[in-house]
């Protein structure tokens, strides 16, 4: 898929902007704080109806304005799909193919994007919540049913935690109601966990050859899903695909039964997907604890690149790749690998403050947009060697 054009009105520091994109690589170049990330954010927003860096939609509207408007033409399997989102202080209205989608979940999923920002280099190093968010976001884009189960799970979890607290404080006594919440939580937890386990295996499958390649076959990668439910990995190996969810449901029920007294004492739910994590191993060692900075970066990069392939496998189309300031963070070899693997198949948008940090000679005539203070100063295709002459 690729985005052919983008129109912005009152989005961040853009009063008006219209851009025509290359199917391949598009480069936003400009000094700090002039609006490069804002452009990537608007593309991300057009795809997912939310920002990658804030939960407050209001921040996206140009200061002192009431509405923002983002629209674009996406090409998907040779068909044009018009996407548009109106954003105001009262909420947002999304249309695809000129039809309003009342539920945002019906809108999301047409356009797939993967964002890679310097923070993502933290995927390996950061807190477990970062990795859970990563799974929810990426899996949610490919699988709407997953999103539904995650949201059900979270609602039940909130009720159950509150009720456990009341049982602890002896404000409530009825364990029948706890049993019911436990059954509902186990059922949704099983749906979420089953999908996450499968996702992790697929991610590993795609990331392994990528890491091997970047490290010139010196390193091997393993990705493990660390479940708070004992022995869930073993279940995955022994069960048929259609009985995994049932087996996990059963396992959750048993586990909750065993620790019921303890959970009441603590007043909170201690087992479930909300307590899980991912671990990355390079040559058998946990990269989070023992990896060098370089290994941590290479692992993050491999995972991101694996996601591109995974999404292609799941949806039949390559997603759109958004690279915010990451090229300058990668050494020559990693950058070469990245640019080489997206070449020609993935429409890419990248930001940079200077073209020197980008191996443009690896790119087939990228399109360059010069950004200054919320305006597009110029847009043109770069032919080979042109950059050198310009500077």
């Amino acid at each position: 898929m690729y985005l052919e054009q983008l129109h912005l009105k009152n989005f961040r520091n853009y009063t008006h902007a219209s851009l025509q994109f290359s199917k391949h690589v598009n480069i936003f170049i400009g000094n700090n704080a002039h609006g490069k990330t804002n452009l990537l954010e608007s593309i991300y927003f057009l795809a997912l109806a939310r920002s990658h860096r804030t939960n407050k939609d209001n921040e996206l509207i140009l200061f002192n304005k009431k509405n923002a408007y983002i629209s674009g033409d996406l090409f998907l399997r040779g068909q044009k799909v018009a996407l548009e989102i109106m954003l105001s202080d009262r909420g947002k209205q999304a249309k695809s193919n000129h039809l309003e989608r009342k539920k945002l979940s019906d809108y999301i999923g047409t356009m797939n994007v993967i964002m890679f920002a310097p923070e993502d280099l933290e995927l390996v190093k950061g807190s477990p919540a970062i990795r859970r968010n990563f799974i929810d976001r990426e899996l949610g884009q490919m699988d709407k049913i997953y999103l539904y189960h995650v949201s059900q799970y979270q609602q039940i979890l909130k009720l159950r935690n509150e009720y456990l607290k009341q049982l602890r404080q002896k404000k409530a006594h009825d364990t029948l109601y706890l049993d019911i919440l436990t059954e509902q939580l186990a059922a949704e937890g099983a749906e979420v966990l089953a999908r996450r386990l499968v996702f992790t295996h697929q991610l590993e499958k795609w990331a392994q050859p990528i890491l091997a390649d970047i490290s010139r076959q010196k390193e091997t990668l393993a990705i493990n899903y660390q479940s708070s439910l004992p022995s869930s990995e073993a279940l995955l190996e022994n069960e048929e695909e259609n009985t995994i969810t049932m087996a996990l449901n059963e396992a959750f029920l048993n586990a909750y039964r065993k620790i019921q007294a303890k959970e009441i004492e603590q007043g909170t739910t201690t087992i479930g997907p909300h307590r899980d994590d991912l671990s990355f191993f390079v040559n058998g060692q946990n990269v989070q604890n023992f990896g060098s900075q370089g290994q941590q970066r290479t692992t993050s990069l491999s995972v991101k690149l694996a996601e591109i392939e995974l999404m292609k496998e799941q949806t039949g189309e390559y997603p759109i790749l958004l690279l915010d300031d990451v090229l300058s963070e990668l050494d020559d070899q990693r950058q070469t690998h990245l640019l080489y693997s997206i070449q020609k198949k993935v429409q890419t948008f990248l930001t940079t403050t200077s073209i020197e940090g980008v191996h443009t000679k690896l790119l087939q005539s990228p399109k360059l947009f010069e950004i200054e203070n919320g305006q597009i100063l110029s847009e043109n295709y770069l032919e080979k060697g042109q950059i050198r002459e310009k500077r």
Partner: protein, 198 residues
């Protein structure tokens, strides 16, 4: 310029209603001033009467101007069926389709630890008492299909089933997370036909 005091007081009252902000309140208040005096008097009287003359039915918990509501006092209805709903407005939605001829029980809410609502805070005890005395053979649960509604329905079915009464759940046809109030009549009818035992 400020609103004259009687007008701003009226606006303040309108703003106590759900979904009404200052702009709408001002528009409504100005409109009231332009209405005929007789209509305004009626309006005020109806407001007070709606509050003062209504209470909850002693049997089913529905809103009524009598002690016992019109459904509960209708002897031609099927005494073997009780349909359990969250709110009085759900009774009205159900009565509109004229497909259901049993009795109702209005909980006045759902179980919710977050809201601090337990079984004693909604009409669960009165429902269980009714089931002991009456010749009911089937209880139909028609809570909304959200997380709290599901948990409440399951809770009730666990309490009722041991008494040998059939329990069915009105869920099919209602979209997930939807409120009964908004379901259109066709889906409600399908929902009644497709009720399932739980």
């Amino acid at each position: 310029m400020y609103y004259p005091e009687p007008l701003s007081k009226l606006m303040d009252s309108f703003m106590k209603l759900p979904g009404i902000g200052e702009k709408t309140a001002a528009r409504l208040a100005f409109y009231v001033v332009s209405m005929r005096e007789e209509d305004v008097t009626h309006f005020a009287r109806h407001l007070i009467s709606a509050k003062r003359d209504l209470n909850y039915c002693k049997i089913c918990g529905n809103l009524t101007a009598q002690e016992i509501c019109s459904v509960c006092s209708d002897t031609s209805r099927d005494r073997s069926l009780i349909l359990v709903v969250e709110h009085p407005k759900d009774v009205i939605a159900m009565e509109k389709i004229q497909e259901y001829h049993g009795f109702y029980h209005v909980l006045g809410g759902v179980l919710s630890p977050v809201e601090g609502t337990g079984p004693e805070d909604i009409n669960v005890p009165s429902l269980l008492k009714r089931l002991q005395n009456e010749e009911v053979t089937e209880v139909i649960l028609a809570m909304n299909a959200n997380v709290e509604g599901e948990a409440t329905a399951t809770y009730l079915s666990r309490l009722i089933k041991p008494a040998g009464i059939k329990v069915t759940r009105l869920a099919h046809g209602l979209s997930v997370g939807s409120d009964i109030e908004y379901a259109n009549e066709v889906t409600l009818m399908k929902a009644i036909e497709g009720r399932t035992e739980i």
